[in-house]
């Protein structure tokens, strides 16, 4: 399952890169940092990414989850820090 989620997240990052014309998002990998440090996304990009991932999870896995809500915002470590943390957070939500 984690492989599928990772693919969805990477595809969503590429889609945001195409929408926002950001070359640095067009070839993402699992080690990509999204926020902070060498992060490649600003707050507007992350909003688009969240929306895109939610849509693709629904289309591909037929699951409806909300990635950005009070719970996500109150996490000690941001689920949107990197591809890995985002995949982990999605996986956790799907297990519930």
């Amino acid at each position: 399952m984690n492989r599928k989620i990772t693919d969805i997240v990477l595809e969503a990052i590429k889609a945001v890169g195409e929408m926002e014309d950001k070359p640095e998002l067009l070839h993402p990998d699992e080690n990509l940092r999204l926020f902070g440090g060498d992060g490649v996304m600003d707050s507007l990009s992350i909003v688009m990414l969240i929306s895109e991932v939610e849509d693709q999870l629904l289309d591909t896995l037929d699951v409806s989850i909300t990635l950005a809500d009070d719970r996500a915002m109150s996490q000690k470590t941001s689920p949107f820090r990197s591809v890995k943390t985002l995949v982990h957070y999605i996986s956790k939500l799907l297990d519930e």
Binding site: M19, F35, G36, G39, M41, D42, S43, L44, S45, I46, V47, M48, I50, S51, T66, A68, D69, D70, M73, S78, F80, R81
Partner: protein, 188 residues
């Protein structure tokens, strides 16, 4: 007589004595509120309003001068159809919320913008918190039953964020800067 902002030697938010989020390690928390804008907030608001990213999605995208800003405020602060509020967290001003076309205890439009001193994930968290606070203020303090907003279609992130709070598209119209989407949220 208000002096031009340049004469006051104020160029950045730091000049105003406000800390940046990175400097202060401020955490975006629920301890937040909205307070009516005071004359002393004007310089801060002008700095935020003139940010390129704010002007990009404003109906009037020209840079605003201090004189224009003061003239606008003289009119806005006594206009009963408008309400301007500063958004605070832990006593730090982080954004501006405005309600306009207020029909008492019925409906209004709203808009907002943020401090220039916050970015990345903290800005996303701030956005969530500010939007929730503004909606609560509209329905609980202003006792509105309908809250509306206008967003350029090109501002996809704002559309996504508004819809996440329950706003629904109700109409579209053309503006010289592009297509505008009107969204609405009802109290019930």
């Amino acid at each position: 007589m208000l002096k031009p902002v340049e004469d006051l030697g104020l160029k950045t938010v730091e000049d105003l004595g406000l800390k940046t989020v990175e400097d202060s390690n401020l955490k975006i928390v629920e301890d937040s509120n909205l307070k009516t804008v005071e004359d002393s907030d004007l310089k801060t608001i002008l700095l935020w309003r003139n940010q390129p990213e704010v002007r990009q999605f404003s109906f009037h995208s020209d840079k605003i001068s201090w004189q224009e800003h003061c003239l606008w405020w003289q009119s806005a602060k006594t206009d009963p159809s408008k309400k301007w509020l500063m958004y605070y967290q832990q006593e730090q001003a982080l954004g501006v919320v405005n309600f306009y076309d207020i029909k008492e205890r019925a409906k209004a439009f709203w808009g907002f913008y943020f401090t220039d001193q916050i970015a990345g994930y903290e800005k996303l968290k701030l956005w969530f918190a500010l939007e929730k606070a503004a909606i609560a203020y509209a329905f609980e303090t202003l006792e509105l039953v309908e809250l509306n907003c206008e967003v350029f279609k090109a501002n996809q992130a704002a559309l996504v964020m508004h819809k996440r709070q329950g706003f629904q598209e109700v109409s579209h119209y053309e503006h010289e800067k592009g297509e505008v989407v009107v969204l609405s949220l009802r109290k019930d």
